[in-house]
């Protein structure tokens, strides 16, 4: 290196040191390792020299941006009209974040106020998430419990709100209603006070409208599709033919001809994800097989769509309880909670779930290591020490071994 450039190198060295001080590389490397090897396993499982095009969207993006530039004025106006609504949670009006768990205490309900005027009242002990928002509405997941809903009509147009609870979908166009969902028995109770909602579910042959003054009391538990045999999923084509129009009556639009499935099957994760979104992601999740749900979740995670990934994984666990893939989904939910949402308590829950369901599963080592890290980050040092000891007994040379030793030595 020439002397003058050596001086430049000095500054570079300081940058390098500052970068190293920001964050140690090992968590990144470990996180990517698991994902990479999962991709390799999926590719080998698919049995071919499949190629992935993770960033295949780049060319289309460039084209889109060029077109956007050509019509910048119109696009700018359009964007302003597309501002998604925001929301505030609780009496303190804390700014809400997409995908975060909102849990009402056992003593009092939690109000949510949306910027376009709609409001929700999450009843005590209930759990929900706002999965995404758009200019005229939002997508809300009621995980368990009851919520009172009052939707405001935007002036001159129609509201677009979707509520999801287990297998149920409630489409709202501007109304007041109460809904209650219990995940244990997949039951939904809904009472509409004003306007009308449309309820769909895999156990309903056709979507059911519920108008003002009407009530609906429904359970899908006895009617959900049987769990497919994993052996049949791991070999041969998907159980759903791509020419199926109504997808065995499970309500998936046929206009996309199963293209999301073909793209995912070919390993085109980005294109598969986009196609699934075009075909209504939630409905796609209701007909996808476990491997496809894992691939959708992985694609969503890779492309920064954490909420979508969570959706796919939760649907997988709901639709295929007790399966190995449901346990893998628990592990992936733990990763998302840890890496994306920094919700270490949630991560502990999911890694512990995986270990409970698959005590000798292939992700056991990774799960114990991650559980140890998540416990430590959530402040449970005693739990982290137990995990560290357990990890070192089983994997004295494993990728988390040095961290485990560090925890025990402190």
């Amino acid at each position: 290196m020439e002397p003058a450039e050596g001086k430049l190198g000095q500054l570079g060295e300081r940058v390098r040191e500052a970068l190293a001080a920001e964050r140690t590389p090992s968590p990144d490397i470990r996180a990517a390792r698991a994902g990479f090897l999962q991709q390799v396993a999926v590719r080998n499982f698919q049995g071919g020299d499949r190629r992935w095009s993770l960033r295949g969207a780049a060319r289309r993006w460039r084209m889109l941006l060029l077109l956007s530039a050509a019509a910048s004025g119109a696009v700018g106006l359009w964007f302003w009209q597309q501002l998604p609504i925001s929301f505030q949670v609780g009496a303190a009006a804390t700014t809400g974040r997409m995908g975060d768990l909102i849990e009402a205490t056992a003593n009092e309900p939690t109000p949510l106020r949306f910027s376009e005027g709609s409001s929700l009242l999450l009843q005590h002990g209930s759990r929900m998430r706002v999965l995404s928002s758009e200019p005229k509405g939002a997508r809300v997941l009621l995980e368990n419990g009851a919520v009172d809903v009052a939707i405001t009509h935007p002036p001159g147009s129609q509201a677009h709100w979707r509520f999801e609870a287990g297998p149920f979908r409630v489409l709202v166009t501007g109304t007041k209603f109460k809904m209650e969902f219990h995940s244990q028995d997949l039951s939904l109770k809904l009472a509409t006070e004003e306007g009308q909602v449309l309820v769909s579910a895999p156990c309903l042959a056709v979507p059911k409208p519920v108008s003002a003054g009407e009530r609906l009391d429904l359970s899908c538990l006895a009617k959900v599709a049987p769990v497919p045999q994993l052996a049949s999923l791991s070999t041969g084509p998907s159980p759903l033919r791509k020419d199926q129009t109504a997808d065995s009556g499970r309500g998936v639009p046929a206009q996309n001809g199963g293209s999301w499935r073909e793209l995912l099957g070919a390993g085109h994760l980005a294109a598969g994800l986009r196609a699934a979104e075009r075909a209504n992601f939630r409905q796609v999740c209701q007909v996808a097989n476990p491997r496809e749900l894992l691939a959708l979740a992985d694609a969503a995670r890779l492309f920064g769509r954490a909420a979508r990934a969570v959706t796919a994984l939760r649907v997988l666990r709901l639709r295929f309880p007790g399966s190995t893939d449901a346990s893998t989904a628990a592990f992936s939910l733990g990763r998302l909670a840890y890496e994306r949402q920094h919700d270490f308590g949630e991560a502990v829950h999911w890694f512990a779930t995986y270990l409970r369901e698959q005590p000798s599963g292939p992700l056991m080592g990774d799960s114990v290591g991650r559980l140890m890290e998540a416990r430590l980050r959530s402040g449970d040092e005693i739990g982290a020490r137990k995990d560290a000891a357990q990890y070192l007994r089983r994997f004295p040379e494993g990728p988390y071994a040095s961290e485990a030793r560090g925890i025990l030595s402190n």
Binding site: E5, R14, R16, E22, G35, A41, A58, S133, E339, D366
Partner: protein, 203 residues
Amino acid sequence: MLTPLTFVGDDAALMQALRAGHPGAAAAFYDQHAAHVHRTLRSALGPDEDIPDLLQEVFIRALNQIGKLRDFERVRSWLSTIAIFVARGHIRLRARRGWLSVFSPERTRPNHLDQPSSEARQALREVYAVLDEMPLDERMAFVLRFVDGMTLPDTAEACDTSLATVKRRLARAETRFLEAARRRPALEQWLKDGTRWNQQKES
């Protein structure tokens, strides 16, 4: 699914096994080179929460293109080339996200450097703010040469260009960096250490 068989063998055997799709070889390949690729990505991008995903993407691309790699001894610079390609794409995406974040809060780029920080963190933020203003070709040459500490030939190879071109890019990048650094007081402390930039500034 994630505990592949352990691969045992030399570099040539590893390459052959990778081409044959041996999952244990993929793990061994990753373990050998992940730290190098991570360093390259981090130098190119600065602190970024998407680095684990990008790291994964580099190796997926590498596996897809492993048939094109003729000389296994060049594997590190070959991986650097892929990493730089992926990083360039990410910088473009990040710029778009930054613009679109106004409309979509869910996709706003989280930035560790926005947190209250030490002097070093402040200077680091300034360095990458300056780099963010540079043309991508010049930025990549600059970070590979001075942050990653690569030789000129390796920098040229990683940038997938000739030695002469990379020298021109570096010269332009230095000039731009100096110009921009003059407008950023937080960089002063780092530039006071007798660097070439400081000398130019005084002249």
